[in-house]
Amino acid sequence: MAPESRGIAGATRYVAANGLVALIQRNPSAPTVSVRGEVQVGAVHETASQNGLAAFTGAALIRGAGERTFQQIVAETEERGCSVNAGGGLHTTGFAGKALVEDLPLILAILADMLARPTFPPHEVEKLRGQFLTALRESEQETSTQAWRAARALLYPSEHPYSRLTSGTIETVQALMREDLLRFHQLYHPAATTVAIVGDVEPEAVIATLESSLGAWPPVGPPPGLDLPPVPPLNAALRRDVPMSGKIQSDVVWAVHGLRRTDPDYYPAMMANMILGRLGIGGRLGENVREEQGMAYYCYSNLDADVGAGPWSAVAGVNPANVERAIEALLHEVARFVAEGPTEQEVSDARDYLTGSLVLSLETNDGIAAALLAIERFGLGLDFIERYPAIIGAVSGDQIANAARRYLSTERYVLAVAGPPAENS
């Protein structure tokens, strides 16, 4: 075992009286510290008519917290070369800080205020809304945004939060009130919060600092649960084209329903995804669409396995004239993978990559903190990194082929294309 792996296994896991979980890892290689955390509250807890509320609330946390204004927070942190940030995502609201080690108490105090005592000053909420609306107008005119919006709407029923984008829409963000942010913030709960702290720190001293910051966040009521609506299976190939004038390139998104991170099929499916569309320059998909046919600068697949079953998708950016050829190539590779499964060589390559690259992902404080958060979120145990090579080594080619057959399909899928309108010539 590499020293890092033992390092993670030896991380300190501390549960505060309010239920907050802290994971602390000493890494003396630089005089820096990274804080990364998440509250298990996100866009999955918002309604369709308030789409964007989790993102807006998360981004507003820094706009005033405790005794400090936004201007005081950024002035006080930035003059020391530190930073703090927060943002709302699909399942969680993330927060992060970076500091030279002597400034850790400052950023923990500010992050605790942001989570427990945000003030949402009305003029700051309006300022932020203006920035959100401009960013939304920009992303609404991106082909990838439009293709993904269409693909998610086809893949999930409208009552399911996965059917939308977390950014919200211009209409929903315009309609959000400050009271909505205050109410949504009530869902944040210390017992639904994990924080990872990694750097040149002594765990005992960090715990003492936490006691007076995040550990002092009073719990109100029970932590929020999550009840995702059922997802009816796809029974046909569904397609939606989104014409966008003024664009040069089209984005193609193909997707099926994937699986949860805690599903027993997770490791075989994850390795199937590596082989189909990630290893090297985009796995088999990249080999066909980019390397063999020269049609796209990017073509790859993604398995979004989280608390719920997110999309298992493949994407490509292609010239409008090549859209149909690219779709054919994507479907051809999916069909071939489902029919034949992986080769022995592919399985062994994927295994070697996943186990060999562990040390790379654990090089920096941010990397270690991200690993610790994932371990806590999915209940993997602090010895997960030590067990990981054996977990990956135990996945067989047959299991990978079975996972591919169970989830991938060339008859039941969704397809979305956003780009320049088709030419009639």
């Binding site: 630089a30 005089p31 107008r137 390139q249």
Partner: protein, 431 residues
């Protein structure tokens, strides 16, 4: 804070820069070539970047696909990129596998195939890359501003090249360009990580030592003349917002005025992370431009940029205009921030803050061997790797008066290009 860089030169002229870092069992190997879009003749724009792509397309001993597979099998990551002044390739690997990086880079420095079928397939991949960039309104504005800012120097054209050149460049032109610039005496190998220098240098000698020295390189002769007045350009296309970009011709990184201009940039926008791979602290929200443009709700985003370059390049101001505001107002607000510094200079507190931010960003950057090697190699391409170590002192020596002087000298009306992007009406809302 970090161990010193050691320099070694092989008999064929290859410069090898090493830094031992034993904090994690990881080593990175970078090879840098002194070639970028700056070296491209008219009619061959984009050729440096295309050559970079061809170096992933195989050699006789390592067919296409083998390189990616070997790196993946060894648990590594790799990439390559082309910029105006340089082209670089790296592999970051578990430390006991770093020999693979040496094998790959020594092989493809001289043995890349440039197979005609692969050249044709990559032509359309690169055009696809260009078309992807063209989906963004900022690309159109940026290319127009740079084209106007440089009338003589090849910084005029984008790194990706012009589509007409990408359609016309031949396999033989690519191969000739490769042979001209990919030689040990035009390259720098940077190794940072968990190794014993003496042992690793023996392997470097084994892989790179036999490569033949190449001929002297064609010089870039063009010198951009002193601009003779403000130039303005307005791009009108479908788009979601108005954008403003102001570009002043500014000194290269070897000028004594580089450090004062870098401090000026940081006073305006915070001291940025040194790595394009991210990982630093965000420091712009307490700086002058954010306060004057974003806090006042004129812009949704606004920033300055000033990067070290080989030849004089640009000091730039950019903003995304907020709904209900207009480009002219935002332009005026950006220029007011420059005028304030020209008249009143900067405060001692601002200088102290910039220095603290720079020191913190260096510390964050040093967590990763890949990021360290990036800094060492980039500075050696532009001037000398020693700048990595001297830069903090250079910045610390800058006075408030220096900052005011360079703002007065370089950020003038006659040295600037002002670009606006104004959306046309026919944009489909995509719904």
């Amino acid at each position: 804070m970090s161990t010193p860089v050691q320099a070694h030169t092989l008999s064929n002229g290859l410069l090898v820069l090493t830094r031992e870092v034993h904090s994690a069992p990881v080593t990175t190997s970078w090879i840098w070539y002194r070639v970028g879009s700056r070296n491209e003749p008219s009619g061959e724009t984009g050729i440096s970047h295309w050559v970079e792509h061809m170096l992933f397309k195989g050699t006789p001993s390592m067919p296409r696909g083998e390189l990616d597979r070997l790196i993946a099998r060894n648990g590594g990551v790799f990439n390559g990129f082309t910029w105006i002044d340089y082209t670089a390739y790296y592999e970051t690997l578990p430390a006991d596998r770093i020999e693979l990086g040496l094998r790959i880079e020594s092989d493809r420095m001289v043995n890349s195939l440039f197979d005609p079928a692969e050249v044709e397939s990559e032509r359309t991949v690169i055009i696809s890359e260009l078309e992807g960039y063209a989906n963004y309104p900022e690309t159109w504005l940026d290319e127009a501003v740079k084209a106007m800012a440089f009338t003589v120097h090849p910084y005029h054209h984008p790194v990706i090249g012009y589509k007409s050149d990408l359609l016309a460049i031949t396999r033989d032109e690519l191969y000739a360009y490769y042979h001209t610039f990919y030689t040990p005496n035009n390259a720098v190998l940077v190794l940072v990580g968990d190794f014993a220098t003496d042992t690793l240098l023996q392997q470097v000698e084994q892989y790179f030592g036999p490569l033949p020295r190449g001929p002297a390189l064609p010089a870039v002769r063009a010198v951009e003349p002193e601009p003779q007045g403000e130039r303005r350009v307005t791009i009108r296309r479908p788009g979601p917002a108005q954008y403003v970009q102001i570009a002043y011709l500014a000194p290269d990184c070897r000028s004594p005025d580089f450090a004062p201009l870098a401090v000026l940039d940081a006073v305006l926008s915070g001291a940025r992370s040194l790595s394009f791979m991210g990982g630093g602290a965000q420091t712009n929200r307490s700086a002058r431009i954010y306060k004057a443009l974003v806090e006042t709700e004129l812009a949704a985003a606004a920033w300055s940029t000033y990067a070290p370059t080989r030849d004089p390049f640009l000091f730039e101001l950019s903003a995304t205009v907020r709904e209900g505001r207009d480009a002219a107002t935002v332009e005026a607000a950006l220029l007011t921030e420059i005028e304030k510094i020209q008249q009143d200079g900067v405060s001692p507190e601002e200088l102290a803050r910039v220095l603290k931010q720079v020191r913190a960003q260096i510390a964050y950057n040093n967590e990763s061997v890949t990021d360290q090697a990036l800094q060492i190699g980039m500075w050696e391409m532009l001037d000398s790797y020693r700048r990595v170590e001297t830069l903090p002192q250079e910045l610390a020596a800058v006075t408030a008066e220096d900052v005011r002087r360079v703002a007065q000298t370089y950020l003038t009306e006659r040295r600037r290009v002002v670009g606006h992007f104004i959306p046309t009406e026919e944009q489909d809302d995509g719904a």
